[in-house]
Symmetry: C2
Amino acid sequence: MSKFRIGIVGYGNLGRGTELAIRQTTDAELACVFTRRDPSALKILTEGVPVYSVNDIAAHKNDVDVLILCGGSATDLPVQGPQLAEMFNTIDSFDTHAKIPQYFDSVDAAAKKGGNVSIISVGWDPGMFSVNRLYSSCILPEGENYTFWGKGVSQGHSDAIRRIEGVADARQYTIPVESAVEAVRSGSNPALTTRQKHTRECFVVAKEGADKAKIESEIKNMPNYFADYDTTVHFISEEELKRDHSGLPHGGFVIRSGKTGENKETSHVIEYSLKLGSNPEFTSSILVAYARAAVRLSREGAVGAKTVFDIAPAYLSPKSGAELRAEML
Amino acid sequence: MSKFRIGIVGYGNLGRGTELAIRQTTDAELACVFTRRDPSALKILTEGVPVYSVNDIAAHKNDVDVLILCGGSATDLPVQGPQLAEMFNTIDSFDTHAKIPQYFDSVDAAAKKGGNVSIISVGWDPGMFSVNRLYSSCILPEGENYTFWGKGVSQGHSDAIRRIEGVADARQYTIPVESAVEAVRSGSNPALTTRQKHTRECFVVAKEGADKAKIESEIKNMPNYFADYDTTVHFISEEELKRDHSGLPHGGFVIRSGKTGENKETSHVIEYSLKLGSNPEFTSSILVAYARAAVRLSREGAVGAKTVFDIAPAYLSPKSGAELRAEML
């Protein structure tokens, strides 16, 4: 069997993670990388794999079986998603939760027009966390879902701090409140405010002469990002930031506690948790597994947009149904 | 929309749990119960639902959309599974791991002959634990899976003790070794023997005049069941057994630790865990969710045997795709 061919669109953290994840498969290969930069200036890890301008992507329709879109959800994917779904099978990690229905519809129309399969919002949240929310809600209809994130680096919150005047660089950690996690695990179904679930810890490099008190106040009072949380701000040097905060660890928990029995007297707790050494490397490993599913579904004649909810787990594996039943059931 | 109709075959712990789980759904109803006992002597919880002899089941082909088979894997399901799959859509919790491939084939042939859908080996292990082993193996191809069970009552091990001469009753708990679980969670990929992973604790009611030392020795040396484990035996009174050990709690963990990165320098740990107040009530809640999937797949024209690996998560939910994307992704 020939390997299925993956094209990467966008070579940032997620694109590099995807390139590495493909190396861990037995049935996929990296066909090419598409970039908005000057292709001749982009050096990738894999020898002999061509880098093309994303402007020329239509010319490579027959070179790849599935594209993994590694752009951002704010501005890249809303345009690229539908555009590329008309020409290719695609996978993306669109993660603006509130805009998913609208994004799904636009990608779905394009994918159907082109006769392709596009799996959107793949990753861990949305993604594996969503799948776990769904499974456990279906199993325990009377219960509550709780999602905690961290401890980990939030790139969106780090970026928000960097936009403040006087800030040279910053790293923000989202931290679940241990007592809240324990209360949920106990099955007591607590009502928790935003502030009770997570704290935020910021490591900030200030520019020379900047007003640190003003920066700290601007961070702590920033609406949506920080105002609803207990936030701690530490000013550190650029060297300390590089030395102690250069990784992108993350993780979190999805917990459902629910009741069964004649009088709801029986408690159950289902928990799914992730401890990730690198958020982009883990996310891209999920993207590659779903790329396999997209190619298979497309070969079976499926078309349109899908989410992780629509993909049977067996489609993610290179093994046959008989192998999976014998080895993993 | 009319509710889909479930028939229960076998009214033990699992059958009663299924009856209770159906009450928590909005889209399913209990149509009837089939029993090997005298139907007129069986009192079920739900008013007005008929109880029939399992011998008359063929006459009720049009009364149910899906049967949930609540018999045991040792002797009931190997016969009932294929027999009933030819007449009905079915769900079962066949859990003899080594015989799953053979059981799948026999149910598959029968279901295809009858034009039905049968989802086999549904529950939490096999079942939700299997699904989690599969997802995390696909995401992190280079890594190790670890499954721990407990703390919980193993009915098979309790039964094995009850068969020993001089034993009036018994309850056996399987207990994961905390230090082993912690070693796995740390991402160190330890090699663990059977003895290092679980201990077994037995509460035994001896018959009057029985030789307790002999019973204890027989338990601890029983091959397959106890000989490979550190086993503790406590002799207690019948009253104590009833008072302290009448529940059927269970649970466990599926953990995968894996590596990514250019030189496998990045560690990730995925963990799925269950803390169950009642093993049969939780298992039957899963059976009912998959019954929904079987009915839907059957209405779409699917036929044959399936496992949890073959079922997209969305099929388990009464909600539409659009609702799921808006609320749960």
